[in-house]
């Protein structure tokens, strides 16, 4: 499936939900926050949020800052 993740085109196979995407990218278990089509998701919502071709997903995390 073709997705736009953090502004870049990504092709991921066998992904149905945001949860699958995060797992596929090797990010499960890490403190990640996801936004799908402009909607901010809590981790509990990942598995209930289906993905579709062309969906825009943002994956962010905390970095050092003041």
């Amino acid at each position: 499936m073709d997705l736009v993740i953090n502004g870049e085109n990504q092709q991921l196979e066998q992904v149905r939900t945001v949860y699958d995407v995060i797992e596929k990218l090797g990010l499960s278990g890490k403190p990640v926050v996801a936004e799908a089509d402009g909607n901010v998701l809590t981790a509990e919502q990942w598995a209930d949020t289906p993905v579709y071709s062309g969906m825009k997903i943002e994956l962010v995390h905390f970095v050092g800052g003041g």
Binding site: N6, V40, F62
Partner: protein
């Protein structure tokens, strides 16, 4: 001595030092500096994950197991709308509903946009965030942010990362006098003397990152800053003497002087 607690958003804080987590030479030095600072509130930024290198360390994994208050910022936001989006992302992490509103447009000064900051503060307060806006050292805008529901207001001493210290101590003093919420000086402090000056002006705390992280010895500087906070706070509470133009002798009466 009576107790002198700092309460923000219903939480009693043990330290008046808010420390940033950027720019440290490595995670070990950062962790030791945070320990030496005694800080309880730690600031962070929110950024996109680099998908080309997902093994990159998240800042949080080095700080696990401690009872910190997380204060994510909205740095990178240029408008209220962008700040609100970043705040929602930060809260969805489940780690904190505190947010430092930080909105800058001018890359050279990074000075906060007070109008967008006020808008974002109003919106985020309505959404139930504990909002700590970083703003300019203007007494009127600081008051407006308080009225908008900010849990604390954070005027800058001087532009971020400059180490120029408090450019307008008169304004910082006025802001404190007028305030009914804690005032935290955020940005621009350079050394322990700047920190002591801020605390003597009556602010409730200071937020620093660069002057600790970029010091030659960040751990030692963290300790120095924490002592300066304590000294400045005690000095403020104790009440300094007035300034006079001419000398006044410390020991007594003219009549008993040896002639």
């Amino acid at each position: 001595m009576q107790t002198d607690a700092l309460v923000i958003g219903g939480r009693t804080l043990t330290s008046r030092f808010f420390i940033g987590t950027g720019l440290f030479p490595n995670p070990y030095v950062q962790k030791e500096a945070i320990k030496a600072s005694g800080a309880e509130v730690l600031t962070f930024a929110i950024r996109r994950i680099n998908l080309a290198a997902t093994e990159d360390d998240s800042i949080l994994q080095h700080l696990e197991g401690e009872n910190y208050v997380y204060l994510p910022n909205t740095s990178g936001a240029r408008t209220a709308e962008e700040a609100v989006r970043i705040a929602r992302l930060a809260r969805a992490s489940g780690l904190s509903d505190w947010i430092k509103v930080e909105i800058s447009v001018n890359e050279r000064t990074l000075l906060p946009d007070p109008i967008e900051t006020l808008k974002a503060t109003e919106l985020l307060v309505k959404e139930g965030f504990t909002v700590l806006p970083y703003t300019s050292d203007d007494p009127v805008i600081c008051k407006r942010l308080e009225e908008a529901g900010a849990a604390a207001v954070m005027p800058g001493a001087s532009p971020i990362g400059t180490g120029l210290g408090i450019l307008n101590p008169y304004n910082i003093g006025l802001i404190v006098e007028e305030a009914n919420v804690p005032i935290i000086v955020d940005a621009g402090l350079g050394s322990a003397s700047d920190v002591a000056q801020a605390m003597e002006l009556g602010v409730s705390g200071v937020l620093m990152n660069t002057p600790v992280a970029k010091a030659k010895d960040p751990v030692r500087m963290a300790k120095a800053m924490s002592l300066a906070i304590e000294a400045g706070r005690l000095s403020y509470l104790a009440g300094r003497i007035g300034k006079k133009k001419y000398a006044s002798a410390s020991s007594g009466l003219e009549a008993f002087k040896l002639k």
